[in-house]
C-alpha cells in the first residue's frame, strides 16, 4: 500500500526487507538519517542484523568487506568525504570479488566544504569496479537497493554496488511510494550464496598479491563482470517488473529511461533527480510543438554504451547536463557519451552543462537556457562548436569572479 516516505526512510525500509547480516554504520550528512532509521529498527527488534557503530567510513567499508568475505550480506551508507575514505577498501573489494551494497546520498567533495548535493563523490569512484545505480525519485531509490543486492551478489558478478540518490533532494523529500516487505522481496532476491568463504573447515587464502604475469587477467575478469552485470541488471529489472509491477527502462535493458525521446531532435541527458524538473520543461516545449526529450541513465558503471547510442542516434543536438566536473577537462558523463557516440560514427553536436554543484538549485530557467543553447546546434556538426565552448556552466555567477577570470 502506498504511503508517504522520505528517501532515507524508503532506503532503510528497503534494507530491512533485504535483511543484511551485518550493517556497519557511520554518520555523515545527508546520509545519516538512513543509518539512524536502521538503528531504530534494530533497537525495536524489527531488524535482527548486527549493527556495528564503527569509528569511520573507512572502517565501515572495511568491516563490511570482512563480513562479506565471511559470507555475510552487508549494508552501509555514506557520501562525499566518507566515500573518499571508503575508496581504498572499495577498490579492493571489486578485485577480491566481494559483494557489498551501499546507499550513497550524493554530496559534493571538499574544498570548499559543502554538505549539499552533487555527483562529484561517486564520479570520483568511477574506475574502482563498483556498479553505480542512480535514482530519479524516492521509489526508485528504494527499488534500486533490492536490485543492487541481486546483481552485486550474483555469483557471476560478485562486485560492490553503489545505490545513489541525490543528497537532501531525495534523501529528505517525502514522496508517495509503494514499499516492499521482506516476504515480498524473497521471491526477487535469493539468500546470498557466496562463491568463496573463510570457513575454517575449507580454508582459503583471500587477497593474495599478484605479480605482473597474473594481475592483468584478474582485473580483466572484474571488467568482464562489470560488462556481464548489464545482462544481470536487465534480468533483474524485468523480474522486478513482473513481481512489483514497476518498470525501469525495460526497453533499454533497465540501464536507462527516456522521457518523450522517441521523435525528439534535442535530447537532454542527465542522471538522478534533476530529470524530474526537466520533465516539466520538456512538457512545455512539447505543448508548443518542439521536439525535446530526456534520456536518463540509471546505471553509470557498467556504462550503457549500446543503449545510449541507440537512443541518441537520431537526435540533432544533445545536451549532457551533469552535477560533476572532471576539473581540467569536462563533465565525466559528457566525456563518456562523446566517446560512445563519436566512436560509433555519430556526428551529433554535444554540449556539456555543469549544473547544480554543491546543492545549487537547478531552476526551470536554467533548463530552458540549456534547451535554447542546444536548439541552436540543430543541423550543425561537432566542429561547429567553438573549441573550448562545448562545456558551459549553468549558471555561472560571473559577477563573483575577478575581472580577468570572466
Amino acid at each position: 500500500m502506498a504511503k508517504m516516505m522520505t528517501g532515507y526512510d524508503a532506503v532503510a525500509e528497503a534494507v530491512k526487507a533485504c535483511d543484511p547480516d551485518v550493517i556497519p554504520a557511520y554518520p555523515i550528512t545527508p546520509q545519516t538519517d538512513i543509518v539512524e532509521r536502521i538503528s531504530e529498527m534494530v533497537a525495536d527488534g524489527e531488524l535482527t542484523s548486527e549493527y556495528v557503530r564503527v569509528d569511520s567510513e573507512f572502517n565501515a567499508a572495511s568491516t563490511a568487506l570482512g563480513a562479506s568475505a565471511a559470507g555475510a550480506r552487508t549494508f552501509t551508507a555514506t557520501c562525499s568525504q566518507g566515500l573518499k575514505l571508503m575508496s581504498e577498501p572499495l577498490f579492493s573489494a571489486s578485485g577480491m570479488r566481494l559483494p557489498l551494497v551501499l546507499a550513497i546520498a550524493n554530496r559534493s567533495l571538499s574544498a570548499p566544504l559543502s554538505i549539499w548535493g552533487d555527483h562529484t563523490d561517486t564520479f570520483a569512484e568511477r574506475d574502482g569496479g563498483m556498479i553505480q545505480f542512480y535514482a530519479e525519485d524516492v521509489q526508485e531509490a528504494m527499488d534500486n537497493i533490492a536490485m543492487a543486492y541481486r546483481v552485486a551478489e550474483d555469483e557471476e558478478i560478485s562486485l560492490p554496488a553503489l545505490s545513489c540518490l541525490d543528497g537532501f533532494i531525495l534523501t529528505h523529500v517525502q514522496e508517495k511510494v509503494e514499499p516492499f516487505s521482506r516476504k515480498e522481496i524473497r521471491e526477487f532476491l535469493p539468500e546470498r550464496s557466496p562463491v568463496h568463504t573463510l570457513d575454517p573447515s575449507d580454508p582459503k587464502t583471500m587477497g593474495a598479491y599478484a605479480r605482473p604475469e597474473h594481475w592483468t587477467e584478474t582485473r580483466y575478469e572484474v571488467h568482464q563482470a562489470q560488462l556481464k552485470a548489464k545482462d544481470k541488471i536487465a534480468e533483474a529489472v524485468e523480474e522486478f517488473a513482473n513481481i512489483f509491477d514497476r518498470e525501469y527502462g525495460l526497453g533499454y535493458n533497465g540501464l536507462l529511461e527516456t522521457y518523450r525521446a522517441e521523435d525528439a531532435d534535442v535530447l537532454l541527458v542527465a542522471l538522478g533527480s534533476v530529470c524530474g524538473t526537466m520533465k516539466y520543461i520538456v512538457d512545455e516545449y512539447r505543448q508548443r510543438g518542439e521536439k525535446i526529450g530526456i534520456v536518463r541513465p540509471r546505471v553509470y558503471r557498467p556504462f550503457p554504451t549500446e543503449e545510449l547510442c541507440e537512443v541518441l542516434e537520431d537526435a540533432e543536438a544533445i545536451a549532457v547536463v551533469e552535477k560533476d566536473i572532471s576539473l581540467g577537462y569536462q563533465g565525466g558523463l559528457a566525456i563518456d557519451i562523446k566517446s560512445a557516440l563519436y566512436s560509433n560514427g555519430s556526428r551529433i553536436p554535444i554540449l556539456n552543462f555543469i549544473v547544480g554543484l554543491a546543492g545549487r538549485d537547478v531552476k526551470k530557467d536554467n533548463i530552458k537556457n540549456i534547451v535554447e543553447q542546444t536548439k541552436e546546434l540543430r543541423g550543425k556538426l561537432p566542429e561547429d562548436i567553438e573549441f573550448g565552448k562545448e562545456e558551459r556552466w549553468e549558471p555561472l555567477r560571473t559577477e563573483l569572479l575577478e575581472d580577468d577570470k570572466k
Binding site: M96, L98, S158, H196, K204, T205, A208, A210, H214, E221
Partner: protein, 94 residues
C-alpha cells in the same frame, strides 16, 4: 602434498588461492650453507625444530631430527640454538 598451483592455472574468482600451495616453491635453492645433524650428539630436545622459521627441520617417525633440504634456507638458527652443538653448518658445494 598439494598439487602444483601453476599447472593448468586459471585465475579463480577474486584470485582466491588454495591452502598450502607454497610447497611448490623449493626454497632450498637459496641456501649457501646446510645444517648437518650429528645424531650421536643429538639429545632430541627439539630446539632446532621449534625455532626453524621454515619448518625445514623435524623429528621424523624414526625419532630423528632431519633437515628437509627442499626448503631449508640455511639460516643457521638450528645450529646456533642447539644446546649440545649437534648441528654444524657446512658450506654448500658450488
Amino acid at each position: 602434498m598439494t598439487d602444483d598451483p601453476y599447472k593448468n592455472l586459471k585465475i579463480s574468482k577474486g584470485a582466491v588461492v588454495k591452502p598450502r600451495t607454497s610447497l611448490v616453491n623449493k626454497t632450498g635453492s637459496w641456501r649457501s650453507e646446510r645444517p648437518v645433524v650429528d645424531h650421536e650428539k643429538c639429545v632430541a630436545c627439539g630446539n632446532c625444530e621449534k625455532f626453524c622459521p621454515d619448518m625445514a627441520i623435524k623429528e621424523t617417525e624414526e625419532g630423528k631430527f632431519e633437515v628437509d633440504l627442499d626448503y631449508c634456507k640455511g639460516c643457521g638458527i638450528c645450529a646456533e640454538e642447539c644446546p649440545v652443538k649437534a648441528i654444524i653448518m657446512k658450506e654448500e658445494e658450488k
